[in-house]
């Protein structure tokens, strides 16, 4: 089906019409609609390359009560995403070619966006033995990103081996930086507030110490390392230092860490419980600055669905995690674009171009030009919506922004010319 997108502002810049035909942008400029083409009136809308999430939890196989590949990717498309990397902490763990292929196939069958399974670094995420990284790389899923996310690869020797091993297939190890010995039983950021609230603290040093070690390891063995969900000012400083040295380090930050602070824990409402925890206002400011200057390469959602009963309880018993796919762009617009810290071209870079590059996705994060994949999302930046948990396409409802008014609305998403979200022409 041919689609003519009329009058969209490309990455916030000049307006143009785009003709999407057979999965590709075939024409660009001031166009007239060919016969039989569906016309999308994009007057007042932005066109961005389809967003790429480097960090999502789709929960299938094993936790379909919280989310499935079908529901998670539907939420992704609604958030403007055309590709997501599905983390390996499923049941069973995605530590074999069999499981990653299963997830990849489920994504293909659902068809809402491309699903790129992340392979576990260690068997069962137990941190003791390398998983069959090569088999996963060669499988139909073509895994390139490996992560034990949820757990830290805390053994230094094992992390070194993993970094070395993935070089053979241009892979990258994505580390969930959390020194386990310093965070046993931790519930929220360690600081004055945690002491007062009586919640066990998760100190910044537990994240920074691992990041420092892994940056040095990656440099030493000349392999890429990607730091998941950076959350502290100190961590941003470390990544900036590593990049200044020219070392192969990339980093991501989540929308919630760009916007929310630890004060919300004082409500004892577990919707605000997440790992790594919400931090101080200073940390949030440093992350925003890091994203603006490119020290933080990527906004990744860490979309973490949980069933109601996992959050409908006292803090200590609650699961860690927040939803993020449907609100990511709005939060970035609210925290970065509207205050003038990042323009839309910058958003496209952090949420599409760079994550596609890190994940080695050849047909995502491409420029909106003739010949490139027709993989894009149309956004109305002037819209304003109050976030309602009940409206989510996810199976879960653990959204920390419920009741808040956020800017922007995704109007339509296209994956290789096929509309994956947005009902009206």
């Amino acid at each position: 089906m041919t689609v003519l997108v009329r009058g969209a502002s490309l990455l916030g810049g000049p307006r143009a019409d785009l003709l999407l035909d057979r999965g590709v942008i075939t024409e660009l400029g001031h166009l007239s609609a060919p016969a039989g083409a569906a016309v999308v009136d994009a007057d007042g809308l932005l066109a961005l390359p389809g967003l790429v999430d480097l960090h999502t939890h789709l929960r299938e196989p094993g936790r379909e009560d919280a989310e499935t590949v079908e529901s998670g990717t539907a939420a992704a498309a609604a958030g403007g995403f055309t590709a997501v990397h599905a983390m390996a902490n499923t049941e069973p763990v995605a530590d074999t070619a069999g499981v990653v292929e299963q997830v990849w196939r489920l994504g293909r069958d659902a068809g809402h966006c491309d699903v790129h399974p992340v392979g576990a670094v260690t068997v069962g995420l137990a941190g003791r033995q390398l998983a069959e990284l090569g088999a996963m790389a060669e499988s139909a899923a073509r895994v390139r990103v490996f992560s034990d996310d949820g757990h830290c690869v805390s053994d230094a020797a094992l992390m070194r081996r993993a970094l070395e091993y993935v070089k053979a297939f241009d892979g990258v190890v994505a580390q969930h930086a959390q020194e386990p010995a310093l965070t046993a039983g931790a519930q929220m950021n360690e600081g004055e507030l945690s002491g007062r609230l009586g919640l066990a603290g998760w100190p910044a040093v537990a994240e920074e110490a691992i990041i420092a070690r892994d940056i040095l390891l990656a440099a030493h063995v000349s392999s890429r390392v990607h730091i998941c969900h950076v959350s502290t000012a100190g961590a941003v400083d470390l990544v900036r230092w590593a990049k200044a040295k020219g070392w192969p380090v990339t980093a991501e930050a989540t929308p919630h860490h760009l916007m929310l602070t630890e004060d919300l824990a004082a409500t004892y409402d577990p919707v605000y419980k997440v790992n790594p925890p919400l931090r101080s206002a200073e940390d949030v400011a440093a992350l925003q600055e890091g994203l603006a200057d490119g020290t933080i390469d990527v906004v990744a959602t860490d979309h973490a669905p949980h069933p109601r009963e996992a959050k409908d309880c006292e803090w200590a018993s609650a699961a860690f995690g927040m939803l993020g796919l449907e609100t990511a762009l709005a939060v970035v617009q609210h925290t970065m674009v509207e205050p003038g810290k990042l323009d839309w071209a910058g958003v496209a870079d952090r949420m599409s171009v760079r994550p596609a590059r890190i994940g080695r996705l050849p047909d995502h994060g491409r420029p909106l030009e003739v010949g490139e994949p027709a993989t894009l999302t149309l956004v109305d930046p002037t819209a304003r919506r109050t976030v309602q948990a009940a409206d989510s396409l996810s199976r879960s409802r653990n959204i920390p922004y419920a009741g808040l008014s956020l800017p922007g609305a995704v109007v339509a998403t296209f994956l290789r010319g096929r509309r994956t979200f947005g009902g009206r022409a």
Partner: protein, 311 residues
């Protein structure tokens, strides 16, 4: 006052009113018939997720002395039953028509959730949540101190021990500073929380100098298990540096009293002869607990404030 979750729910006037009301309760319960009809027809539920015979019976007695109906709900919410226990239990109590729920839970913030999640309409009294707060303990401690020392403004109180894991310490610091007392926390650095410098009190790693000017000393329970996590090297070293023994007792001014929220680890933070000495008001604290809890239940299941009376 709608709920009593932490001392921060009270202003100075309300805190003093609770103490004064407890004094009146003392008078009323000196009689042969130790019962008042005030809460007749009200249902008070003791919802204890942590074992505590002492605190539970204290609340039970307090409620019964006010003629309330008391239900004891001993719920064990473990991590296995992933929090369904708190919400489902709450919904059950709401269906039973509880007017007040006294809750003790090992998770900080559990009473807060009960009060604000919309599951129950009852008044919530925090009987101790995790390492966060234990307001009625602080109130009965202050009541006890006031009886012996008079007005607490300007009085020096030393609290010794595992402050990091102590909800009693937190609530005591909040209440005593609200009442104008000067509080000093003493313990090894490992057992003092991050950010304690911003609390309304002094902090010291040394016990002896603090004792010389103290009007009251509260010894906190220190658990042996903390040794396994390296909070201190051995019981012997802890007792030597921070334990209250007869030698240290002599450092205290003559009028000073010794408190302990219980249960005591005799030989660890406090020796047997100090616990049994005449400076110790530990047994009295227990009796005062009932009076203070009667005052809290009375003021909660009615509110507070004066109204024009008709005769």
């Amino acid at each position: 006052m709608q709920h009593l979750l932490t001392i921060a729910d009270l202003d100075r006037e309300e805190a003093v009113r609770i103490l004064d009301t407890a004094e009146e309760m003392a008078r009323l319960t000196d009689r042969a018939i130790k019962k008042l009809p005030t809460l007749r027809g009200r249902t008070v539920v003791n919802l204890f997720f942590e074992d505590s015979t002492r605190t539970r019976t204290s609340f039970e007695l307090a409620a019964k002395r006010l003629s309330a109906d008391v239900i004891n709900f001993s719920a064990k919410g473990s991590s296995v039953s992933k929090g369904e226990s708190l919400k489902d239990t709450a919904l059950t109590l709401e269906a039973m028509g509880a007017d007040a729920i006294v809750v003790r839970h090992s998770a900080s913030g559990a009473p807060h959730r009960l009060a604000h999640a919309g599951w129950v309409s009852a008044r919530i009294v925090n009987a101790g949540d995790g390492t966060h707060a234990h307001p009625t303990q602080a109130l009965l401690d202050a009541f006890t101190m006031r009886r012996h020392l008079g007005d607490l403004a300007g009085r020096r109180v030393v609290i010794v021990g595992d402050v990091l894991h102590s909800r009693v310490a937190r609530s005591n610091v909040e209440l005593l500073s609200l009442l104008g007392a000067q509080v000093t926390l003493v313990g090894p650095p490992t057992l003092l929380p991050v950010g304690v410098e911003s609390w309304p009190c002094q902090v010291s790693y040394e016990l002896d100098p603090a004792l010389a000017k103290a009007d009251a000393v509260t010894m906190l329970r220190v658990q042996h298990e903390r040794m396994a996590a390296s909070f201190f090297p051995s019981a012997r070293e802890y007792a030597r540096r921070y334990g209250l023994d007869s030698g240290r007792l002599r450092l205290l001014p003559d009028h000073a009293i010794v408190l302990h929220p219980g249960p005591m680890n005799r030989g660890m933070e406090i020796t047997a002869d100090v616990a049994d000495s005449d400076r110790s008001v530990i047994v009295e604290q227990v009796g005062n607990g009932v009076l203070v809890r009667m005052a809290v239940l009375y003021l909660l299941l009615g509110g507070s404030g004066a109204a024009e009376e008709d005769r």
